[in-house]
């Protein structure tokens, strides 16, 4: 009797041991690790690819000239390699874009999260997100051939916007990043617990006060992240500025009614031209690319900081 039970016991115990392997399981794991490694490897690859030509560039052009020079004319007979005009144009376009996108994006987010009834929101949110799926080349052409003529027609004075200009590129870019800001901000507002809203309403708040004084501050980390992501997209955006932003880069352009080349527009333009590999012009593309990479990297770092700083834990 006792032996039979112990036999049954050991049989049950041995059933726990690793009998057969599960080959599918380990294969899947390898595939998944490989998938994750591809993006890591790509990032490292980009950095390596940027480094060599960038070093080559700075062997011929001093870093000081690069970051303080006020003229960028690698394709002119009189060559100059001061990156400031490109940076200034990028900042101007980004500034215009944010002026448009932050109020519109936050406004839509507040409307969707606090004012719209659930049915309206269900219809509207996907439509707003659809805007993010419009190819940027479409935005560029709409800006250049639809918006700008209108702007020129309605401009009150004679010195209106040029054919290509930073204002119109910025406006188009602003509309392009509205969905990014609206959607992420709305997500983070929707995550604010209902109990906070109720507490605010019970203290005789109006809907506007609940939205602006309780929900928006409580969702601030998400909103900041949304805006920084919007800035990253604006800084890296290429098509709109290439089509509608203009190409001037021999001087710093601060008037948004004039056209000027951003960092990305310069890269796109020169890369589509015929430049010999290893030439200074070729290397200059990579130097600007490296700078762009650094700026985006810094923005991401700032955004992580800001998100941590503004994070308000609810519970």
């Amino acid at each position: 009797m006792s032996t039979s039970t112990s036999n049954a016991g050991s049989a049950a115990g041995s059933a726990l041991r690793r009998g057969r392997r599960r080959p599918v399981d380990s294969t899947v794991k390898v595939l998944l690790v490989a998938a994750a490694l591809v993006s890591v490897a790509t990032t490292i690859g980009i950095v390596i690819a940027l480094v060599q030509p960038t070093i080559g560039f700075f062997q011929q052009v001093s870093v000081v000239e690069f970051i303080t020079g006020t003229s960028w004319t690698p394709t002119f007979a009189q060559k100059a390699y001061g990156v400031l005009p490109l940076v200034a144009a990028t900042l101007t376009v980004t500034g215009v874009a944010l002026t448009i996108a932050v109020p519109l994006g936050l406004g839509s987010a507040i409307y969707l999260s606090e004012y719209a009834n659930p049915r309206t929101r269900k219809v509207l949110k996907p439509i707003i997100e659809l805007l993010a799926g419009v190819p940027t080349v479409v935005y560029g052409f709409v800006a250049l051939f639809a918006l700008n003529p209108l702007l020129q027609k309605w401009w009150p004075t004679d010195d209106g916007p040029a054919f290509q200009n930073l204002l119109i590129a910025g406006i188009a870019m602003g509309i392009m990043i509205v969905p990014t800001i609206a959607s992420i901000s709305e997500d983070s507002m929707a995550a604010v617990p209902r109990s906070l809203r109720e507490g605010a309403y019970a203290l005789a708040s109006t809907k506007m006060q609940v939205s602006t004084r309780v929900v928006v501050p409580a969702a601030m980390s998400g909103i900041v992240a949304a805006v920084v992501l919007g800035i990253s997209r604006a800084v890296g955006e290429t098509m709109i500025v290439t089509i509608a932003g203009g190409l001037t880069s021999d001087r710093i352009v601060l008037n948004p009614l004039e056209g000027a080349a951003t960092m990305t527009a310069f890269i796109a333009n020169i890369s589509s031209g015929d430049i010999p590999v290893g030439s200074l012009d070729y290397d200059s593309v990579f130097a600007v690319g490296a700078l762009l990479f650094l700026i985006t990297f810094a923005l991401n770092a700032v955004s992580i900081r800001m998100v941590r700083r503004f994070r308000e834990v609810y519970e």
């Binding site: 009834n117 659930p118 617990p193 109990s195 906070l196 809203r197 109720e198 507490g199 605010a200 309403y201 019970a202 203290l203 005789a204 708040s205 109006t206 006060q209 004084r213 309780v214 501050p217 409580a218 308000e312 834990v313 609810y314 519970e315």
Partner: protein, 288 residues
């Protein structure tokens, strides 16, 4: 503080009840500050609570007790129009405040909530500093205050929290313990000087010590405020309240549950000599 009210108040202790011979549902006292007549609350087509009529007496604590799903919280929320925030919620019958129907067309729910504040089951301080939590109400309602610092201090003192937080007014309200958070929410509510404070199971998320503190605070506050409290805890109702309303859930012929007021009476009477068999079963623990 108003000493005359303290003397008029019916005794809280169960032993003192015999000395207060009053009707079962219409206790003495002057005009009630609020009155519910035939109030039903609907969520869409579903009638959550049926035909509730009861008074809320000034500067007294009125408790609403009953099993889960009996509609006591629903009724509480109808007293300051918090139900407005729930899509599809609707109130029939009359809820009057100093004779004014709160659901009349020209009544502004914001004004209602300025006079009738609410403390919730789970402490819900804003993710702001302790100071800003208390100052929130006065700021949004545009209260004219000579010194916000004094007002914040007074509200925190009245909520018996001042001594614990006076050195850290700038820290987040969320850094406090649960019981302190709930007292902060009470301070925040009294900072706008409402006339009535509604409390929806204010101690159910708290430990016994924090609960005792809140109960003491309620008794203290009832010198100046009318308080309506919903509680699961019968002992709590017996300890703190002057009047008690017992609700229960009824199942109708279509198997739908509806909350219903069974009995309203002075607390001592309801607990020692209930008029209704269902009340007796509930308070003696035979049900619920």
């Amino acid at each position: 503080m108003n000493p005359t009210d303290t003397t008029n108040r019916p005794s809280v202790s169960i032993a003192g009840v015999g000395a207060q011979p009053t009707g079962t549902s219409k206790p003495d006292a002057a005009d009630p500050v609020m009155e519910l007549s035939g109030v039903s609350v609907f969520y869409g087509a579903y009638e959550a609570v049926r035909d509730t009529s009861m008074p809320i007496q000034e500067k007294q604590i009125t408790a609403m007790i009953g099993p889960s799903g009996c509609g006591k919280s629903t009724i509480l929320r109808s007293l300051n129009r918090m139900n407005d925030l729930i899509p599809g919620a609707r109130v029939s019958g009359a809820v009057t405040y100093h004779g004014q129907d709160l659901y009349a067309k020209d009544v502004d729910p914001i004004e209602v909530r300025r006079r009738i504040g609410m403390v919730f089951q789970k402490p819900n301080p804003f993710p702001k500093s302790i100071y800003d939590n208390v100052a929130y109400g006065p700021r949004v309602t545009g209260m004219k205050v000579s010194s916000m610092d004094d007002l914040v201090e007074k509200a925190l003192r009245d909520a018996a929290l001042w001594d614990e937080v006076k050195d850290k007014l700038k820290t987040s309200g969320l850094a406090l313990s649960g019981g302190q958070q709930q007292r902060l929410c009470i301070a925040r509510t009294i900072a706008v000087r409402p006339e009535i404070i509604l409390m929806d199971e204010p101690c159910s998320a708290l430990d016994p010590i924090a609960t005792a503190k809140i109960e003491d605070l309620m008794s203290e506050l009832s010198n100046d405020y009318t308080i309506v409290i919903v509680t699961h805890n019968m002992q709590q109702a017996a300890r703190v309240s002057h009047y008690t309303a017992f609700f229960t859930a009824e199942v109708d012929e279509r198997q739908e549950r509806h909350g219903r007021l069974v009995e309203f009476s002075q607390t001592g009477k309801l607990f020692t000599n209930p008029a209704d068999k269902r009340t007796e079963d509930y308070i003696t623990g035979r049900f619920g």
